[in-house]
């Protein structure tokens, strides 16, 4: 009993940090509609800044002053990010901003590395709260009790701010209808900046307040990201009490998991989430999400056409060039190109889902890594021949996508995206923690191609054929009746359903197919490297995919491939310099700001401007925006 209570208290104490960070994420999303991937970075900064301040400010007062100051400092950093990076891209298509926030992650990572170095920092103990008290004979740190006592006050203060003050009223109003708030004389950009300050500040507070229990290191940003997404999803987007309940639930479960199911601590969180969302699709205290439905915002995608002769010849020539590449006799070039092709296939499969289907998956790495692991496990455990493993890998990935797709497609918009991320993390945590089966952190090694492909360049040819074949297959499907049905489901679900199209099933099949093709990429990957590690399933891998698809251009057929190839090339070049993350992050931000239509989309626009021939003359009375995604809105007269 004593142990039980002590664990409960530990869980409650851990919930403090989780709640602070998650509530900030939820607030920012509510008002700005930006899924702030950089939120984990604000948390990490909070830990580092808090650490430095605590070195300078002495005593108990110094400690708590440091915590508060950290909130302020990180809040101001949030303001800088909002003003410099996000303001220019608010008008860009929905979710495009998340690429910018990803750039911010990279920049902050390297800045933290520059300032605080690569060493993990051990957090100072809180002066005056260093001891433990015994509760039913179990030691409970005083600091934990302090955290447990503080959190409800923070919750109350936030609740008061949001529900009782003018600022809170404006924030809630803006969450519902930003434009109307502006039309009533409220400066939106000021409000956005304010919310960013508050959200980032909360994340910073969370980072500082956990110092005595942990410390500061450069992996904190991604480590907390999945957890706060889970908290926000379980609690319900935009609900502060929901976030608190979810944070407590997750933290307590985690503590008990560590003692009773040490092998499945990570998995537990995602299982809880899956259960909650099965019962309540919009979280414990959340409401149905109407904004950010599937579908695209802004200018509609142009009609697509099967490639003409010219384009086919070009592709053929490029393919020849690829096949001739080994003649250059550069091992490095062959390896690099192999990597690029594999990544292109992965990106193309995500683009299929995101571009044609309008289904924004935040967890596409699950199927890439899933395919790689399926193949790897077959080879390692049953000694399967490569050919068999290669066939079964996409099937495994497809099966995972089939199941996850079924779960996720019951939701829409950002809930859909968050759930894909969380379920991908579930898969990752399974792989990561199931040591005896998956090798855990040590990965799977010694997975090599069959003898007939062991020749230096033969696997390269194999990759070209399978990889490019997969990309062309996806392109073909885009033009097929199925691909059209997928686009129809995205363009107007209502019209599609009213003409006999089972849009959910179409989307489900597309999800499965995209997963299977990502699995092919994963299989190609594992046999080219000879090994696979859990990071192939990780969030960062999913984000890589998202970045290249958005950077390439969602609304263009070739966006995914072009984006993937460009990023891999740039990365290969940049990683040779010391602070390559900083450089890459800045580059991404610059591209996002300058080319909101993505590389292909922006190039196409520039080309059209050069030639001075727009695709088609606008007709005089066409109400282009009339049929925008939101089917529920009243017809407004223009």
């Amino acid at each position: 009993m004593g142990l039980f209570i002590a664990q409960l208290l530990t869980g409650l104490a851990n919930a403090a940090t989780l709640f602070l960070v998650a509530s900030g994420l939820s607030l920012i999303f509510g008002v700005t509609r930006i899924v702030n991937f950089a939120h984990g970075s604000f948390y990490m900064l909070g830990a580092f800044v808090g650490y430095s301040l605590m070195q300078v400010l002495p005593g108990a007062i110094g400690f708590w002053a440091s915590v508060l100051l950290t909130g302020l400092v990180v809040g101001l950093i949030g303001v800088i990010v909002e003003v410099l990076v996000l303001r220019p891209v608010y008008k860009a298509p929905e979710l495009f901003q998340l690429v910018a926030t990803f750039g911010v992650i990279l920049v902050i990572q390297d800045l933290a590395l520059m300032i605080w170095g690569a060493e993990d920092l051990l957090g100072p103990r809180a002066p005056g709260l260093k001891g433990v008290v015994r509760i039913m004979d179990e030691p409970v740190p005083l600091y934990d009790l302090a955290l447990i006592a503080i959190t409800p006050f923070v919750l109350f203060a936030l609740w008061y701010l949001i529900s009782r003050t003018r600022i809170g009223v404006l924030v809630r109003a803006a969450t519902q209808d930003r434009e109307m708030v502006a039309a009533l004389g409220v400066n939106q950009s000021w409000l956005f900046t304010g919310v960013f300050f508050l959200g980032a500040g909360l994340a910073g507070l969370g980072g500082a307040i956990q110092l005595p229990k942990g410390g500061a290191d450069l992996l904190m940003d991604f480590n907390i990201l999945a957890a706060i997404f889970v908290v926000v999803v379980i609690g319900g987007m935009g609900s502060l009490p929901g976030a608190y309940i979810a944070a407590v639930l997750i933290s307590v479960l985690n503590v008990f998991g560590v003692s009773y199911l040490p092998q499945s601590t990570l998995v537990l969180m995602y299982i809880v989430m899956a259960i909650v969302l099965t019962v309540r699709p919009y979280g414990l205290l959340g409401r149905e999400e109407v904004v950010g439905e599937h579908g695209q915002v802004g200018e509609p995608e142009r009609p697509i056409k099967p490639a003409g002769t010219k384009a086919r010849v070009m592709v053929a020539v490029m393919l020849m060039a690829l096949l001739a590449l080994p003649l250059a006799d550069s091992h490095f070039l062959v390896i690099l190109t192999t990597d690029i092709i594999i990544f292109c296939l992965f990106a193309a499969s995500l683009h299929f889902l995101l571009g044609l289907g309008g289904l924004v998956s935040f967890g596409h790495a699950a199927y890439f890594g899933g395919g790689a692991y399926a193949a790897g496990l077959l080879v390692v455990h049953v000694n399967a021949p490569m050919e068999l493993a290669f066939v079964l890998a996409p099937l495994g990935a497809g099966l995972a996508a089939f199941i996850i797709g079924w779960l996720c497609l019951r939701l829409t918009g950002v809930y859909f995206a968050m759930l894909t991320l969380a379920l991908a993390q579930l898969l990752w945590s399974l792989v990561f923690q199931w040591d005896e089966f998956t090798g855990g952190d040590d990965g799977l090694v010694d997975i090599w191609p069959a003898a007939w492909l062991s020749e230096a360049n033969s696997y390269f040819y194999f990759t070209v054929i399978v990889g490019v074949g997969g990309i062309l297959l996806l392109r073909h499907v885009a033009h097929s009746p199925f691909g059209y049905a997928l686009r129809a489901s995205r363009d107007s679900q209502r019209q599609a359903e009213a003409t006999g199209i089972n849009t959910k099933r179409i989307q489900w099949m597309a999800f499965t197919m995209a997963g299977a093709l990502a699995g092919v990429a994963g299989a190609l990957f594992v046999f080219s490297k000879g090994s696979v590690f859990p990071n192939e399933l990780e969030i960062t891998k999913s984000f890589d995919g998202l970045i290249v698809v958005f950077l390439g251009g969602v609304k263009t057929l070739s966006g995914g491939v072009v984006g993937a190839a460009s990023l891999e090339l740039v990365k290969d070049y940049l990683t040779r310099i010391e602070y390559w993350r900083l450089a890459l992050g800045l580059l991404i931000i610059v591209v996002v700001v300058l080319a909101p239509n993505g590389i292909v989309g922006s190039l196409r626009k520039a080309w059209e401007r050069l030639r001075g021939t727009p695709a088609d003359e606008p007709s005089t009375t066409a109400p282009v925006a009339l049929t925008s995604a939101s089917a529920g809105t009243q017809e407004s007269e223009r």
């Binding site: 502006a182 409220v186 005089t620 066409a622 109400p623 809105t633 407004s636 223009r638």
Partner: protein, 233 residues
């Protein structure tokens, strides 16, 4: 006090307003008439800068509005009541009014929640109810009250009678007449000719984004062919 000239606005690629120009004088209630799709809402939105005119000017008390963001236009004293009402359904009535609150403006009547509850008694009873619990008519009242909280010097009402029960429309007409008596100028976009005639001094008719008529209702009565051509009965 408000003057539009040569305004051209687009909605996406569609050219909605074509060289539209008219003016509103102090203390005047003007009706903007025309059928669905004529460009009434776009006109109102072009004044608010919710739609940015590509060409032309909108001048309010000597200030060029086309260069300003929407919230600055509102701050200058133009109150906007949108067609779809757009009340904040998750907020209570009091909170809705709070969003609209602006500091008192010299030379204009300063509204408070209390004076507005006197004007719209049925809102007073339900001040702690959430917006979504209101009927269409009550939502329209709230939308107007919310805008009045900004102490406007000019009120833009976009199709206030649309989808509202006739009894409430009649109430609303009386409200507008009261506001007019206070000296508040109003631009009213309407399809309901009788309602428009009852409250306003002057009618502007647009069709296809072009101005087709600008004059008093008496003049409009004298030209039934205009009425028949642009306001299909």
């Amino acid at each position: 006090m408000l003057e539009l000239s040569g305004v051209n606005s687009f909605y996406g690629k569609a050219h909605i307003l074509r060289d539209l120009g008219f003016s509103i004088n102090a203390g005047e209630v003007v009706s903007l008439l025309g059928r669905n799709g004529a460009g009434k809402t776009t006109t109102v939105k072009s004044i608010m800068q919710l739609v940015k005119p590509e060409k032309g000017s909108v001048i309010f008390d000597g200030v060029e509005l086309t260069r300003l963001p929407t919230h600055r236009v509102a701050k200058l004293g133009i109150g906007y009541v949108p067609e779809e009402r757009r009340i904040f359904t998750d907020l209570t009535i009091s909170e809705n009014l709070e969003v609209g609150r602006q500091p008192p403006r010299p030379g204009v009547y300063s509204w408070t929640q209390q004076t507005l509850f006197d004007l719209f008694p049925n809102l007073a009873e339900r001040r702690s109810n959430r917006g979504k619990a209101l009927s269409g008519g009550e939502q329209q009242m709230l939308s107007i009250a919310r805008t009045l909280m900004g102490n406007p010097r000019l009120l833009l009402l976009d199709e206030p009678s649309e989808g509202i029960a006739p009894v409430i429309v009649e109430q609303m007409a009386h409200t507008i007449l009261k506001l007019k008596a206070e000296g508040l100028p109003v631009l009213l976009s309407e399809q309901n000719l009788h309602f428009a005639r009852m409250v306003s001094d002057r009618a502007i008719i647009i069709e296809g984004g072009l101005k087709k008529f600008d004059g008093t209702f008496a003049e409009l009565e004298a030209q039934p062919e205009i009425r028949d051509a642009y306001l299909s009965v």
